[in-house]
């Protein structure tokens, strides 16, 4: 009988469903912000978690290795098997050049038991004509699928995901968040209906440089997963959130769409305007909206969600997005000096660290988007007019 790993093995309870807390902040000038800030934001929403998982994504934290992919892994040994870290290294050596491997500093005593956390900065071998991004994506998926006892939390450049099972304050403590400075952060705390003790199931979910935190349940999960199969992504983690970030990666990066449009196309595919609203659009926009809906019809993320997607592809970007029926909370805010953008499930979490009065609720289904160019979409219907101006 196979021994199922404790921290990295998939839970037996079935697909995870949770209602959660989300916080995110983004210094659009790319100035580092101390981890304490995001920690205070998420920890203020205690009612949105139950100690069954939390995690964060941080961007701009490895300036020294910013050109390498950082594979950040949860490692646990399996009795009577070669130590997991050695098996991971052996696998990586086959497919990549390892520039540096290091144990991620974690705090003892936060948890009674905890896995090892490792990271490897790698350059993928260019052996089969795939882009380095695609190779890294495949390496990450292969680790998660094939190497028992290892779970790759993230594999982007100059960013990483830190997560596990515990309260948000414990996870922040375990990973020494106060020692970290990042220009972009997202943090997630979970209130899952299942209680699987597996660390890989916490948010954020990440692929390449994108990370997602999610509050909601995706009723189109089956359809989305089948669609992703065609696009070359295998959903194995038994969570609604996984297909969302893969669909985002496909449309924003892999499809080769112009970077100026990619985010808009991805968010429109995932939460499209109703047909009745498309009917009323001016002709050019109508054609685009119709074509996006038809082409990416199975990328529609149905059911309640509010999500924050962070990425630095093609440039550092933070997206807040909710389902078009608006069944989960999400509040956006901008600091007085307009340098920092916030997203959170609740306003008090933003006010915990910034008493700005420029806060608002984005319109249902309309993404709010900030990049290093500033806040480019406030998440209102009029954003579509801006989008239309790019089109002919």
């Amino acid at each position: 009988m196979q021994i199922s790993p404790k921290f990295t093995g998939l839970p037996s309870g079935g697909k995870d469903i949770s209602a959660c807390g989300i916080s995110a902040l983004f210094n659009m000038d790319q100035k580092p912000v101390a981890g304490k800030n995001i920690m205070e934001m998420i920890c203020s929403m205690r009612e949105r978690e139950n100690g069954q998982g939390a995690g964060f994504a941080a961007y701009g934290i490895f300036p020294k290795y910013k050109d390498q992919y950082c594979l950040q892994l949860i490692i646990e040994d399996i009795p009577e098997r070669v130590p997991t870290k050695e098996r991971v290294e052996e696998f990586l050596l086959k497919h990549t050049e390892i520039v540096k491997g290091e144990r991620v500093p974690t705090k003892n005593g936060v948890f009674k038991e905890s896995p090892d956390i490792w990271r490897f900065f790698v350059n993928p071998n260019s052996n089969n004509g795939d882009s380095p991004d695609d190779q890294t994506k495949d390496i990450m998926m292969m680790i998660n699928e094939r190497i028992d006892g290892a779970f790759c939390m993230s594999g982007g450049k100059n960013m990483a995901v830190f997560k596990g099972v515990g309260w948000s304050s414990q996870i922040a403590d375990f990973y020494n968040i106060t020692d970290l400075n990042a220009y972009m952060w997202s943090f997630h705390s979970r209130f899952p209906t299942n209680t699987p003790g597996w660390w890989g199931g916490a948010h954020p979910f990440s692929i390449l440089n994108h990370a997602i935190v999610h509050n909601g349940e995706i009723t189109s999960y089956g359809t989305n997963v089948e669609y992703l199969k065609e696009l070359g992504y295998v959903c194995k983690l038994m969570t609604d959130t996984e297909p969302l970030i893969y669909m985002f990666d496909y449309i924003v990066r892999k499809s080769g769409y112009p970077p100026e449009l990619a985010t808009q196309i991805a968010t429109m595919a995932m939460s499209p305007p109703y047909w009745r609203d498309i009917e009323r659009m001016p002709p050019v926009l109508k054609k685009w909206a119709t074509s996006i809906r038809q082409t990416h019809r199975w990328a529609l993320a149905n059911g309640p969600f509010s999500i924050v997607i962070t990425t630095d592809y093609p440039k550092p970007t933070m997206i807040g997005h909710s389902d078009r029926k608006k069944l989960r909370p999400l509040i956006a805010a901008l600091s007085d000096d307009q340098s920092t953008f916030y997203l959170s499930s609740e306003l008090n979490s933003i006010h915990e660290i910034d008493d700005t009065m420029d806060y608002w609720q984005p319109d249902p289904g309309m993404p709010v988007v900030a990049t290093t160019d500033g806040l480019i979409q406030r998440g209102t219907q009029s954003d579509l007019e801006k989008f239309a101006k790019l089109l002919e």
Binding site: T219, T223, E226, I265, W288, T295, W298, G303, K325
Partner: protein, 512 residues
């Protein structure tokens, strides 16, 4: 030489309760099978030959005082587990005639119904059900080819989008399948055309050309190009969509023949063939002997239609349906119809109708999975039909992987059909499966159109309500969403092929 021993035993008994009967004569006027006649001399309806009764219910429906009862004929064959009336009667008829048994409608054998082994999921607590009456739940669907990605170019700082291949929008993922003028009457087909126009969906023309009166419905019609090529001309190719018919579920591998006596002036004009000649649809299309040939015909139709109409292919669900479907997509079809072994027909050899092909549920699941594995499912619209009896079958077939469901028999029931299976006789008392204009006029077109519209709308309402309870607000999110189905039947192998978990199993791997 025919003797009394050739007599086919009666199946039904029509009985008139003379105490209740008001002698209005309607039963006699309505019976087209010579079972009941009205005796003017005696001012009395009489059962002329109960053996002729087919249980079409026409007399019962029209009797204002409910004085008529149709029951199984009280003396049946001696019960026998193997030698059922179905077989004994078949042997008797073939012994009498030496001919092929002809039948109408769809398969009437009691094969296990896979649909009835499936149930679906609903929202509880972790996500809210949507109130479909008050909040949008979208059923709009597009038939046609979809690219993998949009094709975008940049000109002078602005972005231009290449047109998608032709797609035709329907308001609900529910269409009426192909039925030709000839297999059904002018009134019946006009009523159905008008209904699909009213609802904003589509119907197939069948292989019978298109009557000049019906060109007004062109945007709502899928023009069939089948082996007989009846009525196929440049105008016909300007319909909403074009579909090459390879086969149909009721008679896979079999063509068809409208006998000369049914080729009336109306049919002759519509199909473009001489009055009174047999209208033969050969078994194969003689320009399609292979998948490459299919590709050629699809390309020819694309050229002829200037790529303005999606071109599809209709096949019967047979053993190798998944691989065939894959070939069809690769041959360039924009959509395809898979017709399950319960699909209906105006006339088919009973031996084929009742035994050939496979159930649509298994066929669709298999086609959808295979096309996913081949990474080509997104290109094509899949229409599934063959025995969709209610909105629940429609919902299940979509969750198993179809984009659209098509109905035939259900639409005919809306027009009065009671599934008596006498279609090939041309005597249809309801005026549906008949070329007789007097009988056809039994369908008031306005009434019929309203009934069929109502049916399409009713199922669409059902679909919206169910989507709402699943927390889904657009039907595309149900397509292939097997995750939301569960199996409650006796056969785990069946569940496996369907790709559906057993009831009680949770989403995910269940601890493997």
């Amino acid at each position: 030489m025919t003797t009394v021993k050739d007599k086919m035993l009666p199946r039904f008994k029509a009985k008139i309760d003379y105490e209740t009967c008001i002698k209005c004569g309607r039963c006699g006027e309505n019976c087209t099978y010579d079972a009941i006649i009205f005796n003017r001399d005696e001012d009395m309806p009489i059962v002329k030959s109960t053996g002729n009764c087919v249980a079409c219910q026409r007399c019962v429906t029209f009797c204002p005082v409910d004085a008529i009862a149709i029951t199984p004929y009280p003396v049946e064959f001696a019960p026998h587990g193997t030698w059922t009336p179905y077989h004994i009667r078949g042997v008797m008829e073939q012994a009498r005639t030496g001919a092929v048994l002809l039948s109408g409608m769809g398969n009437d054998r009691p094969f296990p119904m896979v649909f009835d082994n499936l149930v679906w999921d609903a929202c509880q607590v972790t996500n809210p059900a949507i109130d479909s009456l008050r909040e949008p739940v979208e059923t709009r669907t597009y038939i046609g080819r979809k690219p993998k990605n949009l094709s975008i170019t940049k000109n002078r700082g602005k972005f231009a989008l290449e047109d998608l291949p032709a797609n035709v929008g329907i308001s609900t993922p529910l269409i009426i399948g192909h039925m030709s003028l000839g297999s059904v009457s002018y009134n019946a087909i006009t009523a159905m055309y008008r209904a699909v126009e009213d609802v904003g969906t589509m119907m197939g023309t069948g292989e019978g050309g298109l009557h000049k009166d019906h060109y007004v419905y062109r945007d709502n019609l899928i023009g069939e190009v089948a082996s007989g090529r009846f009525g196929v001309n440049p105008d016909y190719l300007k319909l909403g969509a074009i579909e090459i018919k390879i086969g149909q579920g009721a008679k896979p591998g079999h063509g068809g023949q409208l006998p000369g006596e049914k080729v009336t002036q109306l049919i002759s004009d519509t199909r473009g063939i001489p009055l009174g000649t047999d209208a033969l649809s050969p078994n194969p299309q003689h320009d399609i002997y292979s998948i490459e040939d299919l590709k050629t015909l699809i390309a020819a139709l694309h050229e002829a239609t200037e790529y303005q109409s999606p071109v599809g292919v209709k096949i019967a669900a047979v053993n190798n349906v998944a691989a065939i479907a894959s070939g069809i997509v690769r041959a360039g079809a924009d959509f395809m119809t898979i017709d399950g072994f319960r699909g209906g027909t105006g006339a088919a050899p009973r031996v084929i109708r009742d035994n050939a092909g496979i159930p649509i549920e298994l066929a669709i699941a298999s086609v959808d999975q295979h096309l996913r594995n081949e990474k080509i499912r997104h290109k094509v619209t899949i229409i599934a039909g063959g025995g969709l009896r209610s909105s629940s079958d429609l919902i299940k077939v979509i969750a198993l992987g179809a984009d659209v469901g098509n109905i035939g028999t259900s639409a005919l029931i809306a027009l009065g059909c009671k599934v008596c299976q006498q279609c090939p006789t041309g005597k249809c008392s309801w005026g549906i499966a008949t070329g007789n204009p007097v009988l056809a006029n039994r369908i008031d077109i306005d009434w019929g159109a309203q009934r069929v519209s109502n049916l399409l709308r009713g199922w669409t309402h059902d679909l919206s309500e169910v989507l709402g309870t699943m927390g889904i607000d657009a039907v595309e999110s149900l397509v292939g969403n097997r995750d939301r189905l569960r199996y409650v039947g006796p056969n785990p192998r069946e569940a496996e092929i369907l790709g559906v978990k057993h009831a009680g199993e949770r989403i995910g791997t269940g601890g493997e």
